[in-house]
Amino acid sequence: EAAVTQSPRNKVTVTGGNVTLSCRQTNSHNYMYWYRQDTGHGLRLIHYSYGAGNLQIGDVPDGYKATRTTQEDFFLLLELASPSQTSLYFCASSVGTGEDTQYFGPGTRLLVL
């Protein structure tokens, strides 16, 4: 089973602060994803990537940057955090062909004060 880890697990920052969320997967999957989860909205896709150096825009990208440095590592950057970005963030990975089962990390809870 794919292993996806995220760090930190919890983060508190202030409005205007700079935050980086990290994700690593160890199963050589091609695709990696960043989602945010808010009550009543399910999972919403922020950015995704199909390989090192590649970045694709998701459904709710405003205020977020992302970078895929290696096959294993995908980062989500909030350069000027706002309270509206308080959320639970999940990273996921998938092989990226056919029936793309996604394997999720444990999540990072971010609070922007």
Binding site: N30, H41, F90, T101
Partner: protein
């Protein structure tokens, strides 16, 4: 039922009862995937049904798919307290590598 911006649905039942959750989707999909998310964890796939299948079973789980009405259901028979979780459906709109998740159904099973 769940989809898009609909509010999270919630169901509360007693252990041993059967339950069915519904999902409607807006565009073509090659598969419908059902994920379960337990408290404090990320979602995990529990059953997948392809567009050429009408029904799929896995243990106590049964998924159905009606492509003409663009709807899917997930049934759990003989529920256990450990089935307490949020359940999401997800579709791919025919796009490789991308899933769209429904808003979810929160299931509480009381022992």
């Amino acid at each position: 039922s769940q989809w898009g911006e609909e509010n999270l649905q919630a169901l509360s039942i007693q252990e041993g009862e059967d339950v069915t959750m519904n999902c409607s989707y807006k565009t073509y999909t090659t598969v419908v995937q059902w994920y379960r998310q337990k408290s404090g964890k990320g979602p995990a796939l529990i059953i997948l049904i392809r567009s050429n299948e009408r029904e799929k079973r896995s243990g106590r789980l049964r998924a159905t798919l009606d492509t003409s009405s663009q709807s899917s259901s997930l049934s759990i028979t003989g529920t256990l307290a450990t089935d307490t979780a949020v359940y999401f459906c997800a579709t791919d709109a025919g796009v490789v590598g991308q899933l769209t998740f429904g808003s979810g159904t929160r299931l509480q099973v009381y022992a």
